[in-house]
Amino acid sequence: MNLYAIRAIYLFELARTWRTLLQSIATPVISTSLYFVVFGSAIGSSMAQVHGVSYGAFIVPGLIMLALLTESISNASFGIYMPRYAGTIYEVLSAPISPLEIVIGYVGAAATKSVILGVVILLTARLFVDFEIAHPVWMLAYLLLTAFTFSLFGFIVGLWADGWEKLQVVPALIVTPLTFLGGAFYSISMLPELWQTITLFNPVVYLISAFRWTFYGVADVNVALSFAMTGVFLVACLAVVSWMFRTGYRLKN
């Protein structure tokens, strides 16, 4: 293992976050606060409880997931796209590093940021609503798992993208809608039966449902299934990344 290299990449990537602290942390905090003002306080006060939880508290896991997914993908994709675009990637390619080490460095840094962000949002939410976490260890474990999985997915996006627009497409046009439709702000049991069935094809439903279970012990879909699906997605991403490095896809001619 080239530990110095992993450390170099990891710290380089985190340094980028500190430089853009306002954008990296403050922006999601502000937007989360806005969600609470609008959905939690204004609308939520006239909403009934969902699964025995106040509406304001009910949306907390979904909001964290929303930020976690979009930020993991955009951070990780930007992290690897930028050196490709600027040409500085030559140095990483010419260094004695294995693909696994490159991935640990870049994806580890992106996932770290996402976890910090998730915790910050959690703390911000606590200022607005009262809630307790039923399974804190599972909550943290699931936070780490999704942060890493989606940072890995973002890394793939950053390797695949051959323009700045494509970098935006996945988080903005795929992940955000899927999250909104994936039960971030409602329980899918509130939907008509047909829509419930259709919704089950939305992978984000499983993520939000499982994460909400770690908070309140209630879930829309089977929790074990959720964990398994996330695991399968992680393995699929790992397979894609290893194929990309084996063939030098978009990295080497």
């Binding site: 080239n2 530990l3 110095y4 290299a5 450390r7 170099a8 990449i9 380089f12 340094a15 980028r16 430089r19 050196p83 600027a86 040409g87 500085t88 030559y90 140095e91 990483v92 390619l93 010419s94 260094a95 004695p96 590093i97 294995s98 030098g248 080497k252 001619n253």
Partner: protein
Amino acid sequence: MSAIIHIDQLGKTYSSGHTALSDISLDIQEGEIFALLGPNGAGKTTLISIVCGIVNPGSGRVLVGGHDIVRDYRASRGLIGLVPQELVNDVFETVWATVSFSRGLFGKKPNPAYIEQLLKELSLWDKRDAKLIELSGGMKRRVMIAKALSHEPRVLFLDEPTAGVDVELRRDMWAMVRRLRERGVTVILTTHYIEEAEEMADRIGIIRKGELILVEDKAVLMQRLGRKELILHLKEPLSALPDSLVPFRLERIEEGHGLRYPFDSQDEDSGIPRLLTALAAAGIELRDLKSKESSLEDIFVSLLKEGV
């Protein structure tokens, strides 16, 4: 001396279908300075990029320090420092941070004392806390050299190190390459400036359309370079050389209107006065005479035109 780089029948065809290298075989000796010359698009950067792991090799095999660049890439890449042709930088990083980053990337333990010495040697010490975006082009190039040397490589590739560089920096660069050589570092550089190859290289390779058409000791090339010739134009054409002129190894040119006399400019005795006396004695009158020197540039240009 043993070969630190062994290139064996290397070929490369890009996915566009363009064959950038065909059947390159070359050994670079440890500690030598090797200059790779060739026109734009000849394949110099492609060759370097393959050895460094940036471009996938096509056919053939490359060993660096005895390690296969594909199977044993960790060992081979660890020996190499690369200064690429393009000036690319992480513009928001400081000089110190980016050079330290490179050292880490190559798996070396941090060594601030070494980095300090390196930056001083490259006149970058005053700029260590400056962001790269604030530096001039020449300074940025120095930073790229510092990055390449940050992990104390045994082989340094310089891809057109002096393109767009002022005279002073060029001299500095040459001096640096010599210092590296004294430490036993092998240097492979590409250049379009023949005087640069003349100035620095121990051996010179010429590449054209992906083929290595000549590899020669600079000394041997310089010998060819040292050869001059005297061209004599005659008033009356000469159908045959008189016996008295035979020892001078003259060659009749332009259907006897001229004579070519080759001589060694480094030789004390060029033989020219004796030749002129002999010509006068044979009653041959001259219209005009001129001497011509073949430069490395001539050799280079003629090689590129004809091949070997």
